[in-house]
């Protein structure tokens, strides 16, 4: 255990000397999400996803670019511990970010910021459409479910990136963090394309009932404790996936010729 904690400390030290670019990106995204908070609190949960992707990229580029791999030469360790330490560190960072984000989201929802800005006074009638469109993000239970889903996706993306690294290695790219986010955006449009394929082909006969089943289950799990149960289920599934990816990464890294 001590060895794993030491390895985590080394990685944390690496973040201190990091170039400003990624932090500027962080700052930009934080401002964007801060503005998004005016619309609804649950937008802020996207921050978890961004942190997970950016931190993962930063950690891996540190290892490759700054020679942190060499530092493991002076710390007695094995491949298994290195993988576990990385997974543990990034999971911890994602979890802490998640907790902070959840607190911010809860405060925003509780403060009724949305109600003040959009539904009072002159805006009351003109923003009916906006109100309807954003309602899923405003409802307490729905915002928790959205948060749980984004948290789960963050853990899945982060652990998949790490596993890929330990399986195939890292090829440094310019603006890796930005590219990571662009991948997410690309994924979003890719998802839209996939939906279009499903809608216009016989695939829908299978996909629609399955979708309906998921919505039905999620909807019912959203009732108890104002969506807390569904949120915890999503998060638990995310951790389950991360653990599985860690196991696979250990196996892949042990096998890999360095």
């Amino acid at each position: 255990m001590k060895r794993i904690i030491d390895l985590m400390r080394i990685d944390l030290m690496g973040f201190k000397g990091k170039k400003d670019t990624d932090f500027k990106f962080f700052l930009f995204f934080t401002i964007v999400l801060g503005i998004a908070l005016i619309f609804a609190g649950s937008f802020v949960s996207l921050f978890v996803l961004v942190v997970a992707i950016v931190m993962c990229n930063m950690l891996l580029s540190n290892e490759e670019k700054k020679g942190y791999r060499k530092s493991f030469g002076v710390v007695p360790t094995d491949r298994k511990s290195v993988v576990i330490a990385r997974f543990a560190l990034l999971t911890l960072i994602t979890t802490i970010t998640g907790i902070i984000t959840f607190i911010i989201m809860s405060i925003t929802n509780k403060s009724g910021l949305y109600d003040t800005v959009w539904t009072d006074g002159a805006y009351a009638d003109t923003n009916k459409f906006l109100e309807a469109a954003l309602m899923p993000f405003i409802n307490k239970a729905a915002s928790r479910i959205v948060f749980g889903m984004i948290f789960m996706i963050s853990l899945m993306v982060m652990s998949s990136m790490l596993r890929k690294y330990y399986k195939k290695g890292y090829k440094p790219k310019k603006n890796a963090a930005l590219k990571g986010v662009l991948k997410v955006v690309g994924g979003y449009f890719g998802f839209g394309f996939l939906v279009a394929i499903i809608v216009f082909t016989p695939l829908k006969k299978i996909v629609f009932p399955v979708n309906a089943m998921f919505f039905s289950v999620i909807k019912s799990l959203a009732v108890p404790f104002d969506g807390m149960l569904a949120m915890l289920l999503f998060i638990a599934a995310g951790y389950g996936f991360a653990v599985y990816m860690a196991v696979c990464a250990v196996v892949d890294y042990e096998k890999r010729e360095l």
């Binding site: 459409f129 009932p209 399955v210 309906a212 289950v217 108890p224 289920l233 389950g240 042990e254």
Partner: protein, 626 residues
């Protein structure tokens, strides 16, 4: 969905408001003697409103429309008819008076009329135990010994919960006699008879079987002789495969139904292959809008063409169940009273291929019938807004008083029309309403609740009743069903969630173990065989539930064979998980295991106990008799 509904409704209301503003003076200039509908508008104004709505809807969709047929009548006079859209868009077959539609549950009203006819003839006693009219031992799935009266069947208070198994079949040759089909899918009796209203297709079809037994005629033959022929309804079929009227059967084959996938403005054709209702008295009727109008007109006719005595028709609409202790009826011998600006009676219906509505006000003798094959009927203003145009909005103002007090509901409620026993028991947890979240409901006395809200910029109200049950709990009565309190909701939903989690975790553990074994990182350990099988069992149990849920949402529902497969899977899973939990406990107690090993065994035991408990508590194994 509600939001989208609201948005469309609001948009429609805005458009209509503009339309009325433009043509308001024209309405005022209509001739004085013109009939005014219960909503307060003249027939010509109604026609203009509907015409405006049709044009707007058509231009919004920007394509051909699915067929919607509507008729408004006053006594024996048809005031308005509309045949909108295409019954087959691909082949350009335009909707007209010869188009036939599936009437769905409106078919049930023929059972109730038949029962009242036989009651009038003294052949049926509405207060008699239904077992008097059934073969010995016909009902083999009863929980309570209490009498089930014929009136209980008409009020949907026989106590049967929703059946897990399918109501429709694809192959007409699979359909047996009504008696056989009823025996095949007898649901569990989960409520004390006469206590809880739980809309039951099976219970209604059982009443159809009683008609058959008492009259000595096949149900189809009875309905033809005593309802369709006296009313001159020549374009209606009532048998399961529609073979009792070949013209209708041929017309039905031309009909297509349409849906908008994911709310995209593209119509997807469905219903090319008809599905059949084996317990046909409950929902197999097919016919034209003209025939449905003729049928509805009979109920406002002072000549009472369906009954020998006027008193029988009066009794049919005198109310057989009431909200709380009030005289506001919530059921009238199988017909559903509804409060608009006036009280109307009727029934609606829905199948995989269409939706239908029949409403009439007996005082004004005005009625409305609407049929469509557009399964997104909630978004079809032609279907959803017409009742308001004819009968007006209900505001509940006449029930307002100073003694009104707000109702504070506590706890969780589930709809009584759900599966409460058998492999689908967990469904009851999938439609929970949180009592704390219901706002705007007031108690207006006599155990009647009023819910007021604003929709389309106008005040509206709905009436509910408080139900008191023999176990001391209370529920909320809607028209055809009730919201009943769920006991031990939090532990149950936590168990169900833990069951999902155990299943998902088992899948990850199995995958991880496979990877580690392949890489020869882990070596065989004590009890590995049983634990691996337990992980497979947990995953299989979850998969079985997922398959059932998907099948339940398909066109034909869950088949008996699928239910049996799922049930057997759950029995095996239960045995394996219980054995693995016991083995895990034995290993922890008897063997020296590392701290890490103990944690692994502990999680394994917990997962197995959760899965086995969920299978037992939610009766996932019980594939028979539900």
């Amino acid at each position: 969905m509600k939001l989208i509904n609201k948005m469309i409704g609001r948009a429609a209301a805005l458009v209509l408001a503009a339309g009325i503003a433009v043509s308001g003076t024209a309405f005022a200039a209509e001739k004085d003697e013109e009939l005014t509908l219960p909503s307060g508008i003249s027939v010509s104004a109604f026609e203009k409103k509907v015409g405006f709505l049709t044009n707007t809807y058509g231009s919004e969709i920007n394509s051909k429309l699915p067929p919607t047929s509507a008729a408004v009548f006053h006594g024996d006079e048809i005031l308005y008819t509309n045949y909108e859209g295409y019954i087959n868009m691909k082949d350009d077959i335009v909707n007209d008076e010869n188009a036939v539609y599936e009437w769905g549950s409106i078919s049930k009203t023929m059972i109730w009329v038949s029962i009242m006819q036989l009651w009038e003839q003294g052949k049926i006693d509405l207060d008699a135990d239904i077992r008097t009219y059934l073969p010995d031992g016909f009902l083999h799935n009863l929980t309570y010994d209490d009498t089930i009266t014929v009136t209980d069947l008409m009020n949907h208070q026989g106590g049967w919960c929703e059946s897990t198994y399918r109501l429709f079949v694809r192959d007409a040759d699979d359909i047996g006699s009504l008696e056989e089909e009823l025996r095949k899918i007898e649901p569990a009796q989960t409520f004390r008879p006469g206590e809880v209203s739980s809309y039951s297709n099976w219970g209604a079809a059982l009443a159809g079987f009683i008609v058959q037994r008492v009259s000595g005629m096949d149900y189809t033959e009875y309905v033809h002789k005593n309802i369709l022929e006296p009313l001159g309804m020549e374009h209606t079929a009532v048998s399961a495969d529609h073979s009792d009227n070949m013209w209708v059967k041929e017309q039905r084959e031309k009909l297509r139904s349409y849906t908008m996938p994911m709310m995209l403005p593209i119509w997807e054709e469905t219903g090319a292959e008809p599905v059949y209702c084996p317990i046909y008295p409950s929902g197999a009727a097919v016919g034209t809008i003209g025939d449905l109008a003729r049928y509805a007109q009979a109920f406002v006719d002072d000549e009472h063409p369906l009954f020998e005595k006027a008193e029988t028709q009066e009794k049919l609409f005198s109310g057989s169940a009431f909200y709380g202790e009030s005289d506001i009826p919530c059921c009238s011998y199988g017909f559903w009273p509804q409060e608009y600006a006036v009280r109307v009676y009727g029934h609606d219906g829905g199948t995989n291929s269409g939706v239908a509505n029949m409403l009439f006000n007996r005082d004004s003798k005005v009625g409305l019938v609407v049929l469509t094959t557009n399964s997104d009927h909630n978004y079809n203003p032609m279907f959803s807004l017409l009742p308001e145009y004819v009968f007006g909005d209900y505001t509940g103002k006449e029930l307002s008083s100073q003694n009104e007090k707000s109702v504070e509901l506590k706890g969780e409620y589930t709809f009584s029309r759900t599966t409460l026993k058998g492999i689908g028991k967990f469904y009851s947890l999938l439609g929970i309403v949180d009592g704390d979240k219901i706002e705007g409901m007031t108690d207006i006395g006599n155990d009647v609740y009023k819910l007021t809200y604003v929709d389309n910029y106008s005040d509206r109200a709905e009436i509910f009743g408080r139900s008191r049950y023999s176990d001391g709990t209370e529920g909320i009565r809607l028209g055809s069903a009730e919201y009943i309190p769920v006991k031990m909701y939090v532990p149950k939903i936590c168990l169900l969630s833990a069951f999902f989690l155990a299943g998902i975790s088992a899948i990850f553990v199995l995958l991880a173990k496979r990877r580690l074994k392949k890489a020869k990182i882990i070596s065989p350990y004590k009890g590995e065989f049983i634990f691996t099988w337990a992980q497979l069992a947990k995953a299989a149990s979850l998969l079985a539930i997922a398959v059932l849920l998907v099948a339940a949402m398909s066109d034909t529902g869950i088949s008996k064979s699928l239910g049996a497969c799922a049930g057997v899977t759950q029995i095996i899973s239960f045995v394996v998980c219980a054995a693995a939990a016991a083995a895990g406990a034995a290993f922890i107690i008897r063997r020296k295991i590392s701290k890490y090993g103990k944690i692994c065994y502990f999680f394994s035991i917990a997962g197995n106990i959760v899965t086995a408990s969920a299978i037992a508590v939610f009766e996932m194994y019980r594939f028979w008799g539900c």
